[in-house]
């Protein structure tokens, strides 16, 4: 079973709908015990980085960290991916999960922010999550902060400079864009995660 973690930030229906479409068994939950029992975890997220503090207060952060420690596959989407890093300039006092090194940052003033719309991926072919997703594929973004390129980057994207559109490290996966809103390409990626 895939747990879609609900911490009160945004709308999780679209993610559930996409996983349902793929035939994956999944449930939206805010219960740390249920998250702890799940075979896979998806952490969506919209809005402000500070909203992830709820994860800490509710015990969900601990449950997620424990599961990750046991090798359970994890997928962070949008702010859910940013939370995998140590922190974000959006809310410097909020601690992320810290499984990836670095800090999420603002877009430079040279481009409009937020970055909204369909943009292209430059894909690292060894990625498991992006198997069957060619470089140049379009996916849907909507965000004001971004993760820099780092050792875990498996897809880059260009908007006011290169940033991490997708990260992958062992059984940890993250995407800045919304696979549930990225048509066939997004469904392929989610299908790959389900098959991990």
């Amino acid at each position: 079973m895939i747990a879609i973690v609900d911490y009160g930030a945004g709308n999780l229906v679209s993610v559930k709908k996409a996983l349902d479409w793929l035939g994956a068994e999944c449930a939206i939950t805010s219960d740390p015990e249920e998250v702890g029992r799940a075979g896979k975890i998806v952490l969506p997220g919209v809005g402000h980085f500070a909203s992830t503090e709820t994860l800490e207060r509710t015990g969900l952060k601990q449950a997620i960290a424990d599961s990750i420690g046991r090798g359970i596959p994890f997928l962070g989407i949008c702010v859910g991916m940013q939370w995998m890093f140590q922190r974000s300039q959006e809310s410097p006092e909020t601690r992320g999960l810290g499984v990836l090194q670095g800090e999420c940052e603002r877009f430079p003033a040279s481009v409009k922010s937020p970055h909204v719309g369909w943009n292209q991926l430059e894909v690292e072919p060894s990625s498991r999550m992006l198997r069957g997703v060619p470089s140049g594929s379009f996916v849907y973004f909507t965000h004001s902060f971004r993760a820099p390129l780092n050792g875990a980057t498996v897809a880059g994207c260009e908007y006011g400079g290169q940033f991490s559109a997708a990260v992958e490290h062992d059984h940890l996966f993250g995407v800045q864009f919304h696979p549930e809103k990225s048509g066939e390409i997004g469904l392929r990626l989610l299908g790959n995660f389900c098959a991990v």
């Binding site: 679209s14 919209v46 809103k181």
Partner: protein
Amino acid sequence: MLTKRIIACLDVDGGRVVKGVQFENLRDAGDPAELAKAHSESGADEIVLLDISAAHERRATLLDTVRRAAKQLFIPFTVGGGIRTLEDAAAVFSAGADKISMNSAALANPKLITGIAERFGSQAVMVAIDAKRCEGTSSWEAFTHGGRAAAGRDAVEWAREAEASGAGEILLTSMDRDGTGAGFDCELTRAVADSVRIPVIASGGAGGAQHFVEVFRQGHADAALAASIFHYGFSRLVDLKEEIGARGIPVRRPC
């Protein structure tokens, strides 16, 4: 490269798409769910469904329509029309919409924008501005209630306030151009797009590929929306994007 979005709009009344539709190969050319899927498959970057009936007794029908359309739609999906409270918005989101669009209710109470943005994120809140040029000037007034009531507000100034209140996008319709096919109002679009940092979706007046090119180049629009232009067949949208792309505007093409 970030592409310019081409958005297909469905005007829905009592659960049926109301503009003249001539899609082929559809079992039911007036069914919003089928049309939304057809538009998505023919290359629309996003779908907007506007409930123009908005009569209270029809809300249940709308939610059912949204649910059916959302089920097989994996691109961004916006629903507007008659959303007056946080609860209305929440119901539309749980039916499967990714964004809501508000006009009259947002103008009457900009705090509603803030409330919905705090709960669902700014990216989920589109503020629709219906603007009409004040005759002989380069200023535009905002209208509400489907263009029937003047709001007594300058459209550019209201767009700024909507952004400050938490709106994530502006859906800007030129009432002067709407339905004419004479091209978008590039001057209006540019005035708003240059005044805010959030994306501006131009609407009203699309008649051909050149109009889209103009509103992206001269109007500084981030996206453009049209309804009737897409209702002549699936291939039109594919061809339209091809033509816009050939004129140097970055658009999404299927891989």
